[in-house]
C-alpha cells in the first residue's frame, strides 16, 4: 500500500473533495482550501487517494489532517508513475492539477521546475512578489525556451499597477530579496516579467 513503511507524519490542513481514482471509468478532482507547497500538495493527494481506496466510499469530502504521509521521493515517484483519469475518456497527466502557491502549472512549467529543483523556491517567491509589489492583479508562470542560446527558464508574469518610480523601488527591493532567497544556479531559471497597468 502507498503508506506502508512510512514513519513520517505530516499534518495537513488542505481538504480534498470529490475524488475517485484508478480504473478508467473513474475520475479525480482535488481542490485545496489553502495554498500548499508542492510536497504537501502531493502528500495530501496521496493521503486522499489511499483513504478513498481503503474505504471505497463515495464520500464528498474528507479531511487529510493528521494522515500519515510518505517520503517526498515517493511522492515524486508517484507523480511520474501513477496515471489519473479525469473522466471516462480523457487520460490526463498528474501534473494537470499541479499548482504552487495557488498558481497553476502547465506540464512544461512543472517539468522544468522539477528538473531544476525550483518548486520550493517558487513557493517562496510567489508570496514574495505579492508582498513586494503592492498591486499585483495577475500572476502566472510561463515556460520559455530561447532558441538562440538553447536555454530554458520560467517567466513569472505579473500584472501590476503603479507609477514608474514606485515600481522601480519595488523591483529593487524584490530583486535583492530574490537573490537572498534563491541560490545560484536556480536563479538563472527564473525571471520576472512585469506588465504595468
Amino acid at each position: 500500500m502507498l503508506f506502508a513503511g512510512s514513519n513520517t507524519i505530516f499534518a495537513l490542513t488542505g481538504t480534498a473533495s470529490a475524488w475517485d481514482v484508478g480504473p478508467k471509468d473513474k475520475h479525480l478532482t482535488v481542490s485545496h482550501e489553502i495554498a500548499l507547497p508542492f510536497s504537501e500538495y502531493m502528500i495530501s493527494l496521496l493521503a486522499a487517494i489511499a483513504l478513498h481506496q481503503a474505504s471505497a466510499s463515495e464520500a464528498e469530502e474528507i479531511s487529510t489532517t493528521g494522515v500519515q504521509g510518505i517520503a517526498l521521493k515517493s511522492a515524486a515517484f508517484f507523480a511520474e508513475n501513477v496515471t489519473v483519469w479525469r473522466d471516462n475518456t480523457a487520460r490526463v497527466s498528474f501534473a494537470e492539477g499541479d499548482a504552487i502557491a495557488d498558481v497553476p502549472l502547465t506540464d512544461e512549467v512543472s517539468a522544468l521546475a522539477s528538473a531544476h529543483a525550483l518548486r520550493s523556491y517558487l513557493a517562496d517567491m510567489i508570496p514574495l512578489i505579492r508582498r513586494t509589489f503592492r498591486n499585483v492583479s495577475a500572476l502566472q508562470l510561463r515556460y520559455e525556451h530561447d532558441s538562440e542560446t538553447d536555454q530554458d527558464w520560467l517567466s513569472i508574469e505579473v500584472t501590476i499597477t503603479g507609477e514608474v518610480a514606485q515600481i522601480l523601488e519595488q523591483y529593487d527591493s524584490y530583486v535583492k530579496q530574490f537573490n537572498r532567497l534563491v541560490p545560484w544556479p536556480a536563479r538563472s531559471y527564473m525571471r520576472l516579467d512585469y506588465d504595468i497597468m
Binding site: L2, A4, G5, S6, I70, A71, K73, S74, A76, F77, E144, D146, E148, T149, Q151, W153, S155, V164, I167, L168, Y171, D172, V175, K176, F178, N179, W184, P185, R187, S188, R191, L192, D193, Y194, D195, I196, M197
Partner: protein
C-alpha cells in the same frame, strides 16, 4: 562605439511617442546598452566574456556571483531585461511590450544599472568585486572540468528511487 549611446537612443524613442516599434526598440536597446556596459566592466576586471548569444547569460551569471548585493541585483535585473527584450523583438502578437509605462521602467532601470555598474571600475569596489567574480569563475571551471573527468555513473547526483515496502 559607446554602448551608452544605445540607452540614449532608447530614452529618445520613449520620449518621441507611443509608436509600437519605438517602444519595442527602446526595451531592446536598453537591454543591449546594459549588457555591453556589463561585458565591458567584466573585461576590465580581467574576466573573459564569450562572444555571441551565450554572452548574455554569462554576463548576468558573473554579475550575480559578485558577492556584492548591488551588483548581484544588476545580474538578476539584466536577466529579467533580456527576457523582456526577447518578447519585444519576437512576440509581435503580444501587446505587453508596447505598454509605455512598462517600457519607461525598462529604460529607467537600465539607466540605474549602468550607473551602478560603472562604480565597479573605481576602487575599492573594483578589487573586491573583481576578486569575488574571478574566484567564483575559477571554482566553476574547476568543478566543470572535474565532473567531465568522472565516469557518468559517478556524475549522478540524485540517488536512485528506493521502492517502498
Amino acid at each position: 562605439m559607446d554602448p551608452k549611446d544605445f540607452l540614449t537612443l532608447a530614452e529618445r524613442l520613449v520620449i518621441e511617442g507611443t509608436k509600437t516599434a519605438n517602444l519595442r526598440t527602446a526595451t531592446s536597446r536598453a537591454n543591449y546598452a546594459t549588457h555591453h556596459v556589463g561585458a565591458h566592466v567584466l573585461k576590465q576586471l580581467n574576466l573573459t566574456v564569450p562572444r555571441g548569444p551565450q554572452a548574455h547569460q554569462e554576463v548576468a551569471g558573473l554579475l550575480q556571483n559578485s558577492g556584492d548585493e548591488d551588483i548581484k541585483a544588476i545580474g538578476t535585473g539584466l536577466q529579467d531585461l533580456y527576457g523582456a527584450r526577447r518578447r519585444a523583438d519576437y512576440e509581435l502578437g503580444n501587446q505587453e511590450p508596447e505598454k509605455l509605462k512598462t517600457v519607461r521602467v525598462h529604460v529607467a532601470h537600465a539607466r540605474q544599472m549602468i550607473a551602478s555598474l560603472e562604480t565597479c571600475l573605481a576602487e575599492p569596489k573594483r578589487s573586491k568585486v573583481g576578486a569575488a567574480i574571478r574566484s567564483w569563475d575559477q571554482q566553476r571551471k574547476t568543478a566543470i572540468s572535474s565532473a567531465a573527468r568522472k565516469p557518468w555513473t559517478e556524475q549522478l547526483t540524485v540517488p536512485p528511487f528506493t521502492a517502498m515496502a
